[in-house]
Symmetry: C2
Subunit: 474 residues, 2 copies
């Protein structure tokens, strides 16, 4: 029953990952290194994520806009830290319409500069504030090592950019959007995340501070999964976003930005999927139920259509596989694509007025009488599956979460089984660099109000300032 | 009552257009020539268009995908006509990650090459066909003259790309998608369009033929509004998209592509809008009803909320303007943004249990008793408005449609009032070039099964082959 196109996960995790991407037809490689083709199954996942997140953004008072793809070099350079952070990884346009350009244009790696420039034109008074905009778009970062969805040169994302009258309001926005991300990951993707603040070294270039959600993959490697930045007045001063405040004085506004990307598709694979392909939580699956007629006979198809109609009416995404392939082939195809439930309808079962529902994650089968309330049962199984997928991911995450008191312990743990390592830190960058020598271990985030595990920094032994979670990252 | 920020349409049509774009907050200029910022009102219109079209695409069996932004120079050059057509207007990326690239990468002006390359990897047998994909994305064409929405260097669009087993199927697809566009324009945008085939000179580079929908703007200038191309085997031969056919022989497949762009926003403005700003047909308006409380008193707000709730329940997009601006200011703002209906609720009217509904297009007011079925009335007015906007646009289009029998008549007409000119053509490009000397008049399309107006070509007097519609274009 094992899918032969997929390398076993425990044999070669990296190969298993790309095999799942290919076998589930999520993406294909293109002619440009680091740029992938999102195939229908992959793009449908992104559309589903977009629709859920977009609704949440609109409910929290955000509006969508669209900024240009290209940033003039001078505009990009106005905020010094940002350009330092991004300069090594941008792509430059130098010719257009058969002419060399007077000024190079950069393909947006992120759009703080464009939003700030726009805000500087339109914000005049405190009455214009806040402006809470978001955009869905493609961005480009010239990464050296690439991997489908997880790290690519071009990727799709959303970037929210807001301007506020006060620091308090901007900081509240920063936290609120992190919470939106956390809820989305846990309730829809069934992926538990930890939240916290990035260290100075790991924060976004140009931010006062960066909040992050971090997830742990099946193999114990970490994935930064969404970030929310508080900019204070850094950009508003660099780009002159000033306004007449309530005292009729000129003030600079406070800004935030926050983003999530198609990397979330990578997270879904690396947390939930298995040897047989993709496994999707029902709430994020573009197609939730596949009905497989064992025979394409009239009586079987009639029942299939009847079941389809009932489920559709209740808003469940369902299809009948009426292709002329064998039932076994159809089963394998529904499995590899991660469709949460498969309903098998066959002549023999129908004689006893029965059909069979199979869960993708546990492969558990359940016989249902046609007299039962099928909509209720399907909904019920999907709810249970959603909850259990989260619980399993959380259990695994917790079992890969360790506390270390010495550098030696960190080394031992990372060699044995990487995961989230809790350990104290003095706040010095050189200790972060020392940690990095252990298989690239980096600080994931500073735990806010974290337990004081030790008095001393795990690296240098000096007085510890922060409880930090560490890990190896994608 | 006239909006002072907007130049009268009859005084300076071009200025009026950009004034409406600015005053309705649809778009702002950016730092890169020809790249605009889509502000919330402009982007919401695009989102609404996307949602309607996307549904139609899915209903007709298409799936969404996403191809890379960048095209290697060599890949672009495989199909000779395409590169000839687009070479003068592409932007080139020559540096990435602080290194000069070995091969220049072009920012996609359109994605036939990328889709064809992908299809060449995945199409193996007739069983794999058809593949009917679409993508929503940004593209770039380095235009010299630019105008917000109508012609810009970066624009947003959808491009459908399909591969088929037979010529018949591909040609049927080409026609079907043109029909989808026509229906969308007429039923949703309330813009009548003519359909036909482009001449060899005006067809898409690389196509066997191009079908088009053409609309006429308020001032009599034409707008190519959507195109559907039949490629035959041109790309499949250039990119080697071959498959084992039903006779187990290697065949090349047949392809189509079809697209519409954010230019549709420009069409909406230029067909329907007026001196007071945007006018939107109810079926495409992101916000359909604005409730304006004349006073922010409890009794007024209570009625407003009650009306809002009733309308919302029925799926009508409605908001209450509770800002502390004056009623007059709120009226003007709802007008300039083109919100189809305004419901005014004031103390004095409420004493008589009345509210007032005003249509944006005709500014017609109607008093409604609170005892009447407000949902029914609002729906009814919106339906009437939708129909009447289409009829008015059609009447104007028809009154600007002329038949000419000589070049002299064409000249006279174009000097007096441009519009759609029906005239016969011999099929020679040199006659098209001669027509172009008359204020840039171009063939819009060949009318299929068109009436034989004359025996002779309107330009050279030789035997006419085609009934053509001509016009000056944006």
């Amino acid at each position: 029953m094992k899918n032969k196109a997929i390398t076993p996960r425990d044999v070669d995790f990296a190969k298993w990952y790309t095999d799942v991407v290919k076998a589930a037809h999520l993406a294909d490689y293109s002619n440009v290194k680091g740029c992938i083709v999102f195939e229908p199954n992959g793009y449908a996942l992104w559309e589903k994520m977009q629709s859920v997140l977009d609704k949440k953004f609109k409910e929290t008072g955000h509006q969508n806009v669209y900024m240009p793809l290209l940033i003039p070099e001078n505009l990009l350079k106005k905020e010094g830290e940002l350009i330092q952070g991004f300069a090594p990884e941008v792509a430059w346009v130098s010719e257009g319409g058969e002419k060399k350009l007077e000024e190079r244009l950069c393909i947006r790696p992120t759009s703080e500069t464009l939003f700030s420039d726009y805000y500087s034109h339109v914000v005049k008074s405190y009455r214009d504030l806040p402006l809470k905009y978001n955009q869905w778009c493609n961005v480009m970062r010239w990464e050296k090592e690439t991997r489908p969805f997880l790290r690519s040169r071009e990727f799709l994302w959303q970037e929210g950019h807001t301007v506020h009258e006060t620091q308090e309001e901007a900081e509240e926005e920063t936290r609120k959007m992190l919470q939106v991300y956390k809820t989305f990951f846990e309730d829809y993707l069934a992926i538990p995340v930890i939240t916290g603040k990035k260290t100075e070294k790991e924060k976004f270039a140009g931010a006062e501070y960066t909040l992050t959600i971090e997830a742990l993959m099946y193999n114990g490697v970490c994935l930064q999964s969404g970030t929310s930045h508080y900019f204070g007045q850094k950009f508003s001063k660099a780009y002159d976003i000033s306004f007449k405040d309530r005292k009729n004085q000129l003030s600079y506004c406070y800004q935030t930005s926050w983003g999530t990307t198609t990397r979330m598709i990578g997270a879904l694979i690396m947390v939930h999927s298995d040897e047989n392909g993709l496994v999707l939580p029902p709430k994020i699956a573009p197609l939730q139920v596949m009905i497989v007629p064992i025979q394409n006979s009239d009586s079987v198809l009639k029942v299939a259509e009847n079941v389809e109609e009932k489920l559709k009416k209740e808003g469940i995404e369902v299809k009948i596989d009426t292709s002329d392939k064998s039932a076994g082939f159809k089963f394998a195809e529904a499995e590899v694509k991660g469709i949460p439930l498969r309903i098998e309808i066959g002549k023999r079962d129908l004689e006893q007025e029965k059909i069979v529902i199979t869960r993708r994650d546990t492969r558990e089968k359940r016989e249902i009488s046609l007299k039962e309330d099928i909509v209720f049962i399907v909904k019920n199984i999907m709810e249970t599956m959603q909850e259990e997928m989260f619980s399993r991911a959380k259990e695994r995450r917790d079992s890969f979460t360790f506390t270390c008191h010495t550098l030696e312990e960190v080394k031992e743990q990372m060699n044995k089984q990487p995961g989230f390592i809790h350990a104290m830190w003095c706040g010095e960058e050189k200790c972060e660099l020392k940690m990095k020598e252990i298989k690239g271990t980096k600080s994931r985030c500073i735990v806010e109000n974290g337990e004081r595990i030790d008095e001393c920094c795990v690296v240098c032994g000096k007085k510890a300032k922060h409880h930090v979670i560490w890990g190896i990252q994608y």
